[in-house]
């Protein structure tokens, strides 16, 4: 009997101790009990910027999720290299439509019972060229050590990738078609019988669309690598081709160049590219592993085939990057010596 009592008292004391531990603190403001194992979160005042008035007619919103990955080669403790990896999922949204402040003075003209509407070119209307719901992103896989700078780079890449994916899905054309329909419906609801809508064409667009399969394209998958010891950055494709990049090339440009790399190097005579950008000057070195300075005839034969590819490539790049792009495409051997400049 005595033993049982003792045991009961011990149980009660333990339960009370645990309860005390769990519910020790009470938030006086919100009257919520906190467990000792909870973290404390304080949210500061919400500051609002000045209200800006806009006239954005959005006719297409695309919600998307992109997965971005990064691998890092870190020197091992004793020998070899360790591979660290991070994979994040970023949701985001792109709004495409018309900025009505860019309309010309005569954008809506009435002649008898017909309205003639001239709309400006479709464009992405997001504020600050930022499309991600970054606070809602998830990083299910994160191995090794990563710094804040890596996270910044990752989110910027996700931002660029989201835009590129929407462009590859032909968002501008869809928005243009939908915009014409919207304006026609709106004016007809206000009693106009006939409406003719014209949309100004965009000055830059993607020169091709790729069958987008959600992972890469043309069945090609690619991964981003950095080397922690020498700081070099490169992209590895599934077939072993490598595209290394340096300089101030930004993520959007980088994805464009990767698209080009996959699109224009089908026969893979050069499996390695080195891309760098200084200001407006884009330099592409195709590293030729097989062909060193050989016979004149062989070189001429290969290059005549390649020249057509390079011309298509440079035309496409100029279309994508705009008119003031300086472009240098050359062929180098594996020691970095220039073989030929196109």
């Amino acid at each position: 009997m005595d033993k049982k009592k003792k045991r009961n008292i011990i149980i009660v004391v333990v339960v009370m101790a645990v309860a005390l531990l769990l519910y020790l603190t009470k938030d006086t403001a919100t009257r919520v009990y906190h467990s000792m194992f909870d973290t404390r979160t304080e949210i500061g005042h919400v500051m609002l910027s000045e209200l800006a008035k806009t006239e954005k007619l959005t006719v297409l919103s695309m919600y998307k999720e992109v997965i971005v990955s990064q691998y890092k080669e870190v020197p091992g403790l004793f020998y070899g290299t360790n591979l660290h990896q991070i994979h994040s999922v970023y949701p985001g949204r792109i709004d495409v439509g018309f900025d009505l402040t860019k309309c010309t003075d005569d954008w809506l003209l009435m002649r008898e019972d017909t309205a003639y509407v001239k709309l400006p070119a479709v464009e992405i209307l997001n504020q600050g060229e930022w499309y991600l719901d970054e606070a809602a992103h998830q990083t299910p896989i994160e191995e090794g050590s990563w710094t804040n700078e890596d996270y910044v780079r990752l989110s910027h890449r996700a931002n660029a990738l989201l835009k590129r994916n929407c462009e590859l899905e032909n968002c501008y054309q869809m928005a243009e078609d939908n915009g014409k329909r919207v304006v026609r419906n709106l004016l007809q609801a206000m009693g106009i019988k006939f409406v003719k809508v014209e949309v100004e064409p965009r000055d830059s667009y993607r020169p091709f669309t790729i069958d987008y399969d959600g992972v890469g394209h043309k069945g090609m998958h690619y991964d981003f690598y950095t080397n922690a010891s020498d700081g070099s950055r490169y992209v590895k494709l599934t077939d072993g081709s490598i595209l290394s990049y340096q300089g101030d090339i930004d993520d959007e440009d980088l994805y464009s160049v990767i698209d080009m790399f996959i699109y224009f190097t089908q026969d893979r005579t050069s499996r390695q590219w080195e891309v760098s950008k200084q200001g407006n000057h884009l330099i592409i070195n195709m590293v030729n592993m097989t062909l060193t300075k050989g016979t004149q005839a062989a070189d001429t034969f290969v290059r005549s085939r390649k020249r057509a590819d390079v011309e298509r490539l440079s035309a496409a790049l100029r279309q994508l990057f705009g008119g003031n792009l300086q472009l240098t495409i050359s062929e180098v051997d594996c020691r970095g010596q220039q073989l030929y400049q196109y």
Partner: protein
């Protein structure tokens, strides 16, 4: 899952966004007292949300025309968060040697509390009246160009409680 949570990946509803602003706040996360024996973990994370408000043009159905005057009742304005941003460059963390560093996932979870706070308060930011006024200006401009005169009827007055129904994810 409720109906509102089912977002279509492509939304072709025409929206006329008339005002926008940026909301910023800071989230401070402190580690739990129970584990502070091993040292503290603190993170200060500034977050930003781009907010915009406008009207849904597909709901613009109450239009009456008599003579040279068009009577229009504008639909309820909509307030939404367009994008959110963690100001990664300004994050400050302090982690004791015995504790694990903050992971990217954890930082995002903390930042989400800040954007949720912004999202819950969307109705309080006084965006509705400017959004309505600006929308009326734009539509009146269009109607004038067509040679008519626009008259806006039944402009809604909202209380804070009702405003929460106007916000969209």
């Amino acid at each position: 899952m409720s109906e509102e949570e089912l977002l279509r990946s492509i939304n072709t509803t025409p929206m006329l966004y008339t005002v926008q602003c940026v909301a910023q706040t800071t989230v401070i996360e402190r580690s739990s007292p129970a584990l502070d024996l091993f040292g503290q973990r603190t993170a200060i994370i500034p977050v930003e949300a781009n907010i915009k408000a406008g009207i849904d043009l597909s709901q613009l159905k109450n239009i009456r025309i008599s003579g040279k005057t068009v009577y229009i009742t504008l639909p309820d304005p909509v307030i939404e968060i367009e994008s959110t941003r963690i100001l990664n460059d300004e994050i400050v963390t302090s982690v004791a040697p015995l504790r694990f560093d903050f992971t990217n996932d954890e930082l995002a979870q903390i930042a989400r509390k800040g954007t949720d706070a912004i999202r819950n308060d969307l109705g309080k930011y006084n965006l509705v009246v400017p959004a309505q006024e600006q929308a009326e200006l734009i539509i009146a401009n269009i109607v004038n160009r067509m040679g008519y005169e626009a008259v806006f009827e039944n402009r809604q007055q909202y209380e804070n409680r009702e405003l929460f129904n106007l916000t969209r994810p």
